[in-house]
Symmetry: C2
Subunit: 285 residues, 2 copies
């Protein structure tokens, strides 16, 4: 694991690393914010998944999350949004697929399947690496924005008991029901739509067993220019139908960008901190 950069921030450290991912067969980059508390004790960790076109740096530079994480004593891990420079021809040519558009799936189709194993990377490989190298407890939560909100929710729904809490800002709620999403999943997963279900929050909620239901917290701007493809109302209807607990908050005037994320991120961090601290029978410290 190679340290790319480190910067002091709110009395903690923001560090960026490059490492070789065995599941993605590729170098990967991630950032970790270590709050000042991590100098003397282990801290819980929030995994933050970013959106289409992003790197790990959009969130660390624009969300203003380090201030709150420093106060709360919470680490934040920000993975990149896909492998890069894998040698797949044209991997960065289409904004909707390939580089920075992984949608956090395990691709099964050529040319993606050798490298685009982001689900396994986020769920297993990266946490194992983080736990090995940093003073992290086994308490973790997950959140994200847009494509990353989709990633956070689908990953939490499929791994009951793994995360203490999940939330999302303007998540892509029903990729299998949008034009771009259908093209993307056909390319990554093939034409058999049953293979898309594990990567679609609105189709997944009904499948989660009662005892594994982690409540969903979703914030969404009403003036979001992507609202038509995010489809929060489809997720809301699916949750209502299956009785899945969802808090969907619509915010007049807010769009899809990081000024929206920065406005509401503090509430999300406090929400996760409360969940991470709530079950002291687990290894909190």
């Amino acid at each position: 694991m190679e340290l790319i950069s480190q910067q002091r921030c709110f009395d903690g450290w923001l560090k960026r690393y490059r490492h070789y991912s065995d599941v993605c067969n590729s170098d990967m980059i991630f950032a970790i914010y270590l709050p000042p508390q991590a100098e003397t004790q282990s801290v819980p960790v929030l995994y933050w998944l970013s959106g289409l076109t992003c790197t790990d740096e959009n969130f660390t530079q624009k969300a203003g999350a380090q201030r709150v994480a420093s106060e709360l004593g919470m680490a934040i891990v920000c993975p990149d949004t896909s492998p890069r420079n894998t040698g797949i021809p044209g991997e960065a040519d289409d904004i909707n697929i390939g580089v920075a558009a992984s949608f956090y799936v395990n691709a099964t189709q050529e040319p993606w399947k050798k490298h685009y194993q982001m689900y396994d990377y986020i769920v297993d490989e990266l946490p194992a690496l983080v736990n090995q190298h940093f003073p992290i407890t086994d308490r973790c939560s997950i959140s994200g924005h847009s494509m990353g909100g989709h990633g956070a929710i689908t990953i939490a729904l499929r791994n009951p008991g793994k995360y203490c809490s999940v939330s999302a800002l303007a998540p892509a709620c029903h990729p299998a029901g949008t034009e771009h999403g259908r093209l993307r999943y056909t390319s990554y997963l093939g034409p058999d739509e049953s293979t898309w279900v594990p990567y679609d929050s609105s189709l997944l909620v009904a499948q989660v067993p009662e005892e594994g239901r982690l409540p969903l917290l979703v914030d969404q701007g009403e003036d979001d220019e992507m609202l038509g493809s995010l489809q929060p109302k489809v997720l809301q209807a699916a949750c209502e139908q299956s009785g899945y607990p969802l808090t969907l908050r619509m915010h007049p005037g807010y769009d899809h960008g990081y000024y929206f994320v920065s406005t509401f991120i503090e509430e999300h961090l406090r929400y996760h901190a409360a969940a991470l601290a709530s079950d002291l029978s687990k290894n909190y410290y």
Copy 2:
């Protein structure tokens, strides 16, 4: 004045405008954050000057200032760091001079003098425009980072009574004493070094009359990679010699970037808010 974009942020609005500047003979861009209080009353305003290579957006995207400004009921105006697209040959080719490197001077030399009148733009033209178009009181303060910290301090020192408070993060304290600074001022102002004095904080402090002395608040990272050219200790010595009030706070581990700015901006905003509110005989509301 043309509205380029507007985004909801912490219940207020961040708006970017393009307008023609008579003093710069050029289009100029600025951003203004209007806190929610501005919907029902006039609010005081902080002018924020950014550093070398920046646009108006570095601060609005990375500092996290809108959260605090929203709470405090303070507008923030972020001008661009120079004219752009003026037609001056090679204006954007050198990181140290021209585009995004104005150093907030009134240039007297060719080819810059027709357009690079940033001192007059910041001190007079932009505030007149802002006061005309927005619900702003006549109470204002000024702050900035790096080259912008230099701009904020020199402008405050030269205009006693105009600003309620001044502060800077990692300011360039003595441009006339650095190699790049000497080249730059020769190009903008000519070889007569007496013309450089109005644009050098360390040379200016001794000239401010006793009754016009606004205290200086400066934060500086000890691991700032630019420390050698910023020269805060030269400013400190000049202030000590002339008895000028300076609070210089050195911060171990912090570098020159926006993670440093974001860590300390809240203290600066609260400092300015207190000054803006302190003299109720002036038109606070």
